[in-house]
Subunit: 276 residues, 2 copies
């Protein structure tokens, strides 16, 4: 159907937002709106300019017959700082303290809007890396992994602690939990990871890094590659950490059970080398 | 900053898409763009008209001092039919067959774009119901639950099979699996569900309905209410099903292991009473 420019702008924006990091041929839009490619290009120019103005991302043009346009999401520095501050404040409420100094984070992880923003932040940092797959371990990392993967437009692979009949053949490894030093098992469906895949590992919480390190070992079994490691919260760690190169949005620097005090700072997100 | 109308339309659409089912005061936009509320209302009129034209949803205006606008997502009948057909075809590939007649669905559930669409479909059907929370059971239902909850702008609550130290106090129930007749356990953190909450139960697969029924029983323990039940796939069931009123996107009608044949039809999504 034929639309006016203002309507085209709204509809194209809606479509692009729903298909992040996806190559869309210009012909898709010109057929959709029965408009010349030159008009579509002008529209895309306006969308690109507006996204960039707010630091919300850009429209990438891929030239050639197999080309098209891609919406690449981003987060402005100011928006990112504000959001991470908001998260830190939520984390510092004393009601989160559980016996043993554990923290209740289920309410934060249960809010799709927050999880979506966390995913957008992490995805924005890896937008220029060749990521083929996002991997996490059940259960709490799953929503974050999906949010990241949606923005990067790649599949999610979920490592489990147990083997399920609906997973088909699996490969399993044993690993040592960094904090408790207990031997644990990780299982992944054999057909879920192609060889040589570039995998971004995502999790909600990292202490000594045993779980993340287990996922790294599992990737070796599959002959896949670690393209990055990103966690929502890292805990300040006295002992040596098993994982070195990672991205964190928050850092749990102190938990005082007696005084019911939790101290959460921003993670290395801003310290890590920025890209643009 | 001051924007032209075309830029405002793009930026407002971006913002609304990122905040589905969320009340946004008009003053937010007028301050953001230093524009009169009358101009903003005109812009919103164009956005509303364009969304409705494509069946992608609408903009709801809530009058009064505490009012504003809300983007209510929807899916056009044609788009819904096409998407469900696409899913059914994917489900019918013989490589999915696992020993025992189980189906490998992990690859479908691992694709954020598909999961997001499933969520949009389910959310569109419950957009006029008073849903406070989306509930699922770990693990495979989690991404679907988040997709639904993101569009409905409500939190997600995840029932587990085991108790975790980071969940705090929990309530657990035993239930009988409908297919295997085995006694199983479900656990939910005590602070995750307020009394009287209207809960939409979501899962990936339902056979006899034992798991879903378990969640219904768990809701009774919490004195919360079942506001709806939605599953991605229901299996045709010879025996009596434990759950009666539910929404399904697909129906697994036949699995023939010997001939490597899987028959998947569309579920009751279109049969169920439609709302508009």
């Amino acid at each position: 159907m034929k639309l006016r420019r203002s309507e085209r702008l709204v509809d194209m924006t809606t479509y692009l937002m729903a298909h992040p990091s996806t190559l869309i041929p210009l012909s898709y839009f010109s057929e959709q709106y029965q408009s010349a490619k030159s008009s579509i290009s002008e529209d895309l120019g306006i969308i690109k300019e507006t996204l960039e103005l707010k630091g919300k991302g850009t429209i990438l043009t891929v030239p050639g017959a197999a080309g098209g346009v891609k919406y690449i999401p981003n987060v402005g520095v100011e928006e990112a700082a504000q959001f991470i501050n908001e998260l830190c404040e939520m984390m510092e409420t004393p009601e989160r303290l559980l016996p043993g100094g554990y923290l209740y984070m289920t309410d934060i992880l249960g809010q799709p809007r927050l999880v979506d923003n966390v995913g957008r932040l992490i995805a924005s940092r890896y937008r220029n890396h060749p990521i083929d797959i996002v991997m996490t371990v059940a259960t709490k990392g799953i929503p974050i992994a999906y949010a990241v993967a949606r923005y990067l437009n790649v599949p999610v692979v979920i490592v489990r602690r147990d083997s399920l009949v609906t997973e088909g053949s699996t490969i399993s490894i044993n690993y040592v939990s960094g904090s408790t030093k207990r031997i644990q098992t990780m299982v992944l469906s054999k057909r879920s990871l192609p060889k040589e895949a570039n995998v971004l590992i995502v999790d909600d919480f990292m202490k000594a890094g045993g779980t993340v390190n287990g996922m790294v070992n599992l990737l070796e079994e599959f002959e896949a590659k670690v393209a990055g490691i990103a966690v929502l919260v890292e805990a300040e760690q006295a002992e040596e950490r098993l994982v070195e190169d990672y991205l964190s949005l928050m850092k749990l620097s102190d938990v005082n059970v007696r005084e019911k005090m939790i101290k959460v700072d921003k993670g290395n997100f801003f310290a890590a080398p920025s890209e643009s």
